[in-house]
Every structure is written in C-alpha cells, then in structure tokens.
C-alpha cells in the first residue's frame, strides 16, 4: 500500500518536472494577425474651377443684361419733339447710354468667353455646374442680341442729331430773316 502511494507520488513529481522542462523545450511562435488593405494607386485631382466662380460669373451676366435692357429702353423712349436745348440734353444722354451699352456688351462678351473657356476644359462634362452656368449665360447673351438692336439706337442718335441740325438751321434762318426785316425798315 505504502509502496504504491510512493510510486504515485513519484509519478506526479516526474510529470511536474516534465512540464517544467516542456516550458524550456517548447518555444513560442505567433501566427500574427494583420488586417490591412492593399495600397491601391489613388488619383487625386482638384476642380479647375469652383462652383462659386461660375455662380459669380452668372450673377455678373444677369446684372449686365438687366442694366443693358434698362439703358436700351431709356434710349428708345426719348421723344425727339422737343426744343433745341432739350434735344441737346437728350442727345448727350443718348450718347452716354450708347457708350454704356457698348461697354456692357463688351463686358457680357468677356463673361461669356470666360465661361466658354471653362466649358472647353470640361469637355467630358464631369463638372455639371460649369455646363449649366455656360448655358445660362449663353441664353442671356442670345436674349440680349435678339432684344437690343444697336442699329435702332444709332438711328435714334442720328435722328436726334438731324433734328438738332434742322432746328439750328431754322433758328439761323429766322434770325437772318429778322435781321433783313430790320435792315429794310431802317
């Protein structure tokens, strides 16, 4: 009985010793976890024009068109049946309006050209706001070209000048006639 007990104890002790040795005998290895994506080639590109710029150009074009329409109406609404002095005032106003109209037309063309440059850069229509902005300004420009007839403005200008000249002639003749009458009576 005692012998069996001693044998069991020795066995357990040997097992413990074996485990201790096992610790030294067996190394460690990691089957290391990694969770990573493969690096894909990434293309970054910035927009060559921002929506704010296009919006600003659209607003400018709208302002120009509104101002042009106003100037045009003012130019055509001048009635030439006035006195010489009033006609001269009107003529100077019309001259100024015509000059202003030409400047505004130039400005509108500049805005249109700037937008058409952006549109040419955006050939593949990747930036929709550029396309929309260009279309909006193009329609405004077409509207101006259809509405504002510069030949009419020139005609009004010429008519006024003619009227003024006529009135000046008439005035001159009246003065000359008056002088002749005075000389005859003397």
């Amino acid at each position: 009985m005692r012998k069996t007990f001693h044998q069991h104890i020795t066995f357990v002790c040997l097992c413990c010793l074996f485990f201790c040795l096992g610790n030294y005998l067996v190394g460690e290895t990691e089957a290391k976890f990694s969770s990573q994506d493969k690096a894909q080639s990434l293309e970054l590109s910035t927009a060559f024009v921002f929506p704010e710029t296009i919006k600003h150009l659209e607003d400018t074009a709208e302002e120009i068109v509104m101002s042009m329409k106003k100037n045009y109406q003012m130019t055509l609404s001048n009635t030439p049946d006035e006195s010489l002095g009033e006609l001269e005032v009107q003529l100077s106003k019309i001259k100024a309006n015509v000059q202003e109209l030409y400047i505004q037309m130039d400005n509108l063309n500049t805005v249109y050209e700037e937008l058409s440059l952006y549109k040419n850069k955006n050939q593949q229509d990747t930036l929709t706001y550029v396309h929309e902005g260009f279309q909006s300004v193009e329609s405004l420009r077409n509207e101006v070209l259809a509405t504002i007839d510069f030949s009419k403005v020139e005609a009004v200008h010429s008519l006024l000048e003619f009227k003024i000249k006529e009135l000046e002639k008439m005035t001159k003749q009246v003065i000359e006639n008056d002088e002749e009458v005075l000389e005859g009576s003397a």
Binding site: C16, F18, Y24, E30
Partner: protein, 182 residues
C-alpha cells in the same frame, strides 16, 4: 499472466518516461549552455499563441518546425517560421521576389485578409512547418509558464514529497515501536 503483462507494460512505460525526461533535460541543458533554441533531431517545437494560421493549425496547439539553414530555398505555399521585429512568426509564403540577387519572401497568415507588410530574407527564417501539430498542449504549457502555473509546479511536488517523507518516517517509527514491544 495478465497481471505480469500489465506489470511489464508499466515498467516499460515508466522506463521510457524516464528516458524521455532525461533526454529532455539534456536537450534543455545543452541549449541553455549553447544559447540557442532547443532542437530535437533537427526539429524545434513551438506553441502557437494566436490564430492567423487557422485552420492550418489552431491557437494553443504546438507545432514542429524543421530547422533549415539560410541557403535553403522555399516555394510559394510553404509555411515558414521566421524572426521579425523581435518576434517569432509562422506564416505562409505567398510570393518569392529577388532583392539584391537573393530571394526574399512575401508572407500571409491563412486567416488574414492581406499580405504582411514585410518581406522575409533567408537569414531570418528559422525553419519549415512540416504538418506536425498537437492541439491544446500549447495552452497547458502557456499556463504552466505563468506565475501561478510555475508556483503550482513547484509547490505540488514539494507538498507530495513532504507527505511521502512524513508517511515514511511515521511508518518507520511505528515499526521501531512494534519491535521494542516485541
């Protein structure tokens, strides 16, 4: 007859156990003296601490690694054990590349979703996994290397030896007393 047979089996088993124990002691001592990792017949045994190679081998299992020299070449699909950043890692080769005229290896854990960031040079490779694995033993060894495990492995045999000695002394005392009375 049967009794004799079992007695013989027990004796052979005990003898083998003691021989294995002595061999293990010898291997451990020699590796401690030489400073290298314990190697038995060209194999190293490693406990697997994490699960990136599942299901090839499980976390907590022990695996056998056949040690190789730095001139050995490996194929795609081989599972190699190598040193990387101060750790011993076991992963599968996914690609073989040439770098400065020598082969370097891209690796990946079977359970991982991407290749490892590093490339493994032949100098860092310890050996090749040959498919020998015993599950769960690594957990036991890992526990026995912990503070509590180590303490138990020292305390339990000590206690048992103490009890054994106490019983022996007590028995001898009783025998002596019985002899005196007789």
């Amino acid at each position: 007859m049967t009794k004799k047979f079992w007695k013989a089996v027990r004796r052979i088993g005990s003898g083998m156990f003691i021989v294995i124990l002595c061999l293990a002691s010898f291997v451990v001592l020699s590796s401690r003296i030489s400073g290298g990792a314990p190697t038995v017949l060209g194999y190293q045994v490693k406990a697997v601490l994490s699960g990136s190679m599942e299901p090839t081998f499980q976390t907590g299992s022990i695996i056998g690694i056949e040690t190789k020299d730095k001139h050995t070449s490996y194929q795609i699909g081989d599972v190699i054990t190598f040193n990387m950043d101060g750790k011993v890692i076991t992963h599968r080769i996914t690609d073989v590349k040439k770098q400065n005229g020598q082969a370097v290896y891209k690796t990946k854990g079977d359970n991982n979703d991407g290749e490892d960031r590093w490339t493994v040079s032949p100098q860092n490779i310890i050996g090749l996994y040959k498919g020998f694995t015993i599950p769960y033993v690594g957990f036991l060894l890992n526990y026995s290397s912990s503070k509590l495990g180590s303490a138990l492995l020292l305390f339990v045999p000590g206690l048992l030896l103490f009890i054994s000695a106490f019983i022996s002394i007590n028995g001898a005392k009783k025998e002596l007393e019985a002899g005196k009375v007789g």
